[in-house]
Symmetry: C2
Subunit: 446 residues, 2 copies
């Protein structure tokens, strides 16, 4: 019997653990799930005979060492910044490891050691990053094999609310970590390349640089650029591609309204407001606007943003209640924390709600003097509020990869992301069985 | 004979060293000037018999210890981040110390030790911070002694070009560290308080929130808020003041044009452009603008900023040459570094130029049911390109403070900034002899 150690049993691990347990009988696996809260781990295992829940503290060195030592493979579902502590023990005990997170600096620094010890640390095999890499590479490799030259690659992903439950004016709910949504895009400028020209977009302009796209029969979406559009050119073998953009999808109108908060400075997470606890939502907004005694906050914000009171943006803001006298009640909070609190009340993802992952790749390429466009789209709706689309699209590829490493289907060593055919082909093939499937539309272009 | 150790003999130390040497005979001082470049130190001493220049390396622990041990007082003109290394030795050898820099976290952490050892570390006694504290406190204390209640305090400082040499469309030259000018205002939002309301201004809106003021017969200036308007409320005894703003002065029109760079993202110092060396100035600007094949860079930037081609902003930008095909020639430079290079060519402060420090405090207060306004203004023009206004207004108060500590006129101990009458009165009095003098205008207001 082989032992799979899963560290971290939070929301994103639900489908993963379910998949591993379902596959445990035929493959003779024992699934040991460690979480800081034993109850959380237990809730995921639901008494399955091949599962075992236990309290796991990543900062307990002895436990970390012992648990990794006695397992056959380790899945880290911890926050990305903690993976290196797991990786370091995996190297020592020569255990393979899988994560859904971006390759961290610390993991990269261990790359030689990882390869030398004959193990694989497979990262970025969730949804984004993960399914995006695999589904894009499948098309990129195919076009190249045919002799085509790829001239443009646009890749968009969104974690959104499923259409039936999409019932607020922002067309958005928190189907994932709210904090990440509030601070999304902050940091160095977003980088894209368009017809060979590098373009840098500072944060305060990011939500004005949106493009639009349609996805299957799901209607229209808008896309704002991710900060890291260019970093995968090398891994994808697209070093000289003239146009490449990676972006985040929202429903039309979201970005224009979100930009109101960006323009105010209300997404800033770098300083705290002394008197935040006793401030009202209305005072919070007013704190970013000029002192003009004879104008209302609503009038001032319209002037500030150059919009009308009857605009869609103002409707969205009013709907959030930001002009109400509700007390914030958070001590020494940053603007971002206050905004998150306001949003969490209105964008709450309830037990009745279902989420949806939308992904779309748009390729332009030339083959035999003809230009083509391939649009490859995937929409996956969540099963319920536990087995969400996010949890499924993260957990299934991780689970499949674990299985393929244990069964010897994946034999690569070292620090990997799933851009090789030997990894992405079988994973994508099995994902289809779970309805994680791309639909391709191809046309000639002039 | 007493020994004064001056560490750092850069531009800002010129007038300081001159002052100390001039006062050295009557007070029997030896002025030892240590700099990483012995030649720099020698140039400042000019063979004066009471001066001694030597190579000083702050990272040489033995030298640092020995030099501080054998001196009677230490002046650190090093970058602010290095003062703590000097302070730590001053504590050990019980030597007083003076700097023109902001009190650093490290110095604050040593406060108990400093007081216990019976020494003073006097900081923020340059121009801004320094003369601003002293000249403001003199008026604040006077108003309070009369029984007045201060309701508003605005304090503005600018390091500018003297009117006779003010001959470019930006009305600005680099009279001080260019890097600090390019990144000015970045970081957490600027904080001000207006009629009891806190106002937070994010960086990307900072240069649109300007106010205007007139200074003596020097005409009109504009002011953008400093990040730290509120932090001196406590030191100034103005904890409950309804309105307080500290700001930086420029000539009218500067901020609107500078805002063009801020809006583009061209002042960002957080990432590098890979191909910066071979890029042209024009390409640099274009990199922040959308890809639109049939529009010129000039047309695109006008749309982006919502301005006309014949506007003052576009004139200032064209004058800088940012639309020219000049090669940047800097490897892997950040946008801020590239912008600094472009500006340094055009905003160069030459040997023929003279600079100017402008400072203005505006107080509103009530006394016996009548409201008053006091405007206190100071303009100081530089003597030449070495003894600049900046060097004089930094160096003179530092030099005077050194003298007053050595002669027992300043007896305070611990970490100090010059907000106490016992310090500011004699320093301001002596500064008058050097024409660093404020002119007060007072009027009743309704």
């Amino acid at each position: 019997m082989k032992t799979i150690l899963v560290i971290g049993a939070g929301l994103s691990a639900s489908t993963l653990i379910k998949y591993l347990l379902e596959n445990s009988e035929i493959h003779e696996w024992k699934i040991r799930v460690g979480d800081y809260s034993k109850e959380t781990a237990e809730r995921k295992i639901k008494g399955h005979k091949n599962g075992e829940a236990f309290k796991f503290d990543i900062f307990n060195e002895t436990q970390r060492d012992e648990e990794i030592k006695k397992s056959d493979i380790v899945v880290s579902m911890l926050p990305a910044s903690m993976h290196y502590m797991v990786a370091e023990r995996c190297i020592k005990h020569k255990k393979n490891m899988v994560t859904a997170s971006y390759v961290s600096k610390e993991i990269n620094a261990m790359a030689d050691d990882i390869e030398k010890n004959g193990i694989i640390i497979l990262n970025e095999i969730g949804v984004d990053p993960g399914i995006d890499h695999m589904s894009a590479m499948q098309i990129i490799d195919r076009i190249k094999e045919q002799g085509g030259i790829i001239t443009a690659f646009r890749s968009y992903t969104g974690g959104l609310i499923s259409p039936r439950y999409d019932n607020n004016p922002w067309n958005y709910k928190f189907t994932w970590n709210p904090r990440n949504v509030v601070v999304a895009g902050q940091g160095p400028a977003a980088q894209i390349i368009v017809n060979g020209k590098y373009k840098y977009i500072p944060y305060h302009k990011l939500f004005t640089r949106v493009s639009r796209t349609e996805v299957l029969n799901y209607g229209e979406f808008e896309v704002y650029p991710n900060r890291d559009s260019l970093k995968y050119r090398k891994s994808y073998g697209l070093e000289n591609i003239p146009t490449m953009i990676r972006g985040t999808m929202r429903r039309p109108g979201f970005s224009k309204a979100w930009n109101a908060f960006v323009q105010l400075g209300a997404t800033d997470d770098s300083y705290t407001l002394d008197n935040s606890e006793h401030m009202s939502y209305r005072e919070f907004i007013n704190t970013f606007l000029k002192y003009v005694p004879d104008e209302t906050v609503e009038e001032k914000i319209c002037k500030y943003l150059g919009i009308e009171e009857d605009s869609g943006v103002m409707y969205k803001l009013r709907w959030l209640g930001v002009f109400k006298d509700t007390k914030i009640g958070l001590k020494e909070a940053t603007p971002a924390q206050i905004l998150q609190k306001i949003l969490e009340e209105k964008w709450k993802f309830t037990e009745e709600d279902r989420d949806m992952i939308v992904m779309q790749h748009i390729f332009e390429y030339t083959l035999n003097n003809q230009s083509y466009e391939i649009v490859s789209s995937m929409v996956y709706e969540g099963e319920d509020s536990i087995n969400t689309a996010m949890s499924a699209t993260v957990g299934l590829p991780v689970g499949i990869a674990v299985k393929m490493i244990l069964t010897g289907k994946i034999t690569e060593k070292g620090v990997q992301i799933p851009v090789n055919k030997s990894i992405y082909e079988p994973v994508l093939e099995e994902l289809k069985k779970y309805k994680v499937e791309f639909i391709e539309e191809k046309k000639e272009i002039n």
